[in-house]
């Protein structure tokens, strides 16, 4: 599903240059649940942003579902993001003046789906994350865990190939974190490929494979015995 070869990325801040990714090689197969771990500054978020086409690599090869991702203009990047990817952020990034349902429906709006069908699909995914009763509430009326579940529903709404989660549990307490992980595991069980960036070991243990990053290089990449989040809930 994802193939990466020799990926480099530097940030320039005035005269200083910061080499963040120093040649990453990394493959993800369909249906995998991978966690990318590392201390802050290890380059894990940068890697995820490049994978998510929110940022561009300086050099290296990135193939997503057999489509080479390079020299993208904004338009095509937007199209690929809409079709291939679903994002889950640490700070949820819901649009605060839209109801849960409208937030979930938004990727479909940009996909050009008609309103009626859009709302039906959005409702379906809200049911899936257990928030059907909250569909007309604004994000400000929801708890952190509920917001993240709305964000997950939104990420799923356009039926993407890969879900990218950047510290999905970073703003949540332990119990809520496990609930969210349970949901993510459930989605993975249905065959969706998911990448999770985290620095929490217990969260990483709930995935099927842990990739460890340090100073812009992969130092460790191993499959693990998945811990089911439902055991804790």
């Amino acid at each position: 599903m994802i193939q990466i070869k020799d990926l480099h990325k530097s940030y320039h801040m005035g005269s200083n240059s910061l080499h963040v990714l120093k040649g990453i090689n990394f493959d993800v197969k369909e249906g995998e649940l991978v966690s990318i771990m590392g201390s802050s500054g290890s380059g894990k978020s940068t890697l995820l942003n490049i994978l998510g086409m929110l940022d561009e690599a300086d050099q290296g090869q990135y193939i997503l579902d057999n489509v080479p991702i390079k020299n993208l203009n904004e338009k095509i990047a937007a199209k690929y993001r809409n079709e291939f990817l679903g994002f889950i952020f640490q700070s949820f990034n819901l649009i605060n003046y839209k109801s849960a349902l409208d937030n979930v429906a938004m990727p479909l709006y940009y996909k050009g789906v008609k309103r009626k069908e859009r709302n039906d699909t959005a409702m379906h995914y809200l049911e899936k994350v257990g928030l059907a009763d909250w569909s007309h509430h604004l994000p400000s009326e929801l708890s952190g865990g509920q917001k993240q579940r709305v964000a997950i529903a939104r990420a799923l709404a356009s039926d993407p190939k890969v879900l990218m989660a950047d510290e999905p549990t970073g703003a949540l307490d332990t119990k809520t974190s496990y609930e969210v992980m349970e949901l993510i595991q459930g989605i993975n069980d249905e065959g969706k490929t998911i990448l999770v960036v985290t620095h929490e070991h217990d969260i990483a243990q709930m995935t099927k494979r842990i990739v460890n990053l340090k100073d812009g290089l992969i130092i460790d990449d191993k499959k693990v015995q998945q811990v089911r989040a439902s055991e804790y809930v």
């Binding site: 998510g52 904004e74 199209k79 809409n82 079709e83 640490q90 709006y109």
Partner: protein
Amino acid sequence: MFNIERWQEIFETLSKNKLRTFLTGLSVASGIFILVILLGFGEGMANGIKKEFEDDASNRIHVWTEVTSKEYKGLNPGRYIQMENENYEYLAKKYEDDLEYKSAIYRIWQGAVNYKTESGSYRIEGVLPDFQFIENAGITQGRFVNYMDQDGFEKVVVIGNKVKQEIFKNEEDPIDQQIQINGINFKVIGVYTDPGGDREESRIFTPISTAQRVFNGANRIRNLSFTLKPKATFDETLEASEQFVEEMQQYLKQVHTIAPDDMSAIGTFNTLEASQRYFGLIGNIKFFFWFVGICTIIAGVVGVSNIMLIIVKERTREIGIRKAIGAQPWSIIGMILHEAIFVTAIAGFTGLIVSMGLLEIFGPYLEIPYVINPSVNFNVALSTVIILILAGAIAGFFPAWRAVKIKPIEALRDE
């Protein structure tokens, strides 16, 4: 533009952000409102000044005489110049083709008027039939003096509305009644009104031939009044009238032996010249209101730009989210512009309708000196609204363009 999905999205965004929408709209609506009211008052002042010229024909040329100020051909200064019938007749004949209306005037400043037990003192003016049109006088009862009265030295008078109110107390029909002027009987043949009001209406007109004979005027006349036939343009008319005044003065100076450079002996007032000055003033007033109005619009445009800038800034994160979930750059710019244009258009037209409604409803009842019926040209107002909408769109475009250029990852970065 006609995408229903886009409209739904915009209505939703606007209705969920009521305060923002309201403030943007308010600045646009108030800008248009102020401009329309200002332009309306400019027009009202122009109307008011125009009205000041309505009491006499606007192309009237009035001639009077005074004493000479310069010695000439052995004659001393300080000599009073007296015009006579033949002066009028010569001018009337010579310029027959150019003149529209013409009249000589013989005047008694204080005529003692009696009717039954009522009495009063009024100006008695001996005039020719044309004088009705020179004075812009309207006949409300009976008729004005005519050439038969003039030729027959008829003792008939046309009284002003004010005279009628004071002498006849509005009760009796004054037509065919006899009144005494300085003890002599005259028959009332008409009542006139004058846009100049009470002062102009407290006069009594009689044929000049009668006035000269009855009040010992012999062949003396006090004033000449003319109007010239209008030419194709105002400037040509003005030029012709100035030339006429010049030639008439030369003639009068020559026959009365006045120094050609004596400026005080013959007095003339050319209403056209004066009105040209006043129309110039109106032009200046209108220019001023336009200037203030355009400044208001510029302030409005700056206000709208500012609000657009803040809106886009405030929505940077939202734009980032939209991009992350697959919004095309142009769809975001389009969305922001669409919103901006929609809000400014609605607000602009609201301001336009409210202000024009105010002018239409209250304008005619406004009682401010020199301001009459303020109104505004609809097309002018409409174009300003369109300019404001365009300005709002342009003002919205640049920040939107910049916001779209920001990478989603930067827009989404946690504060």
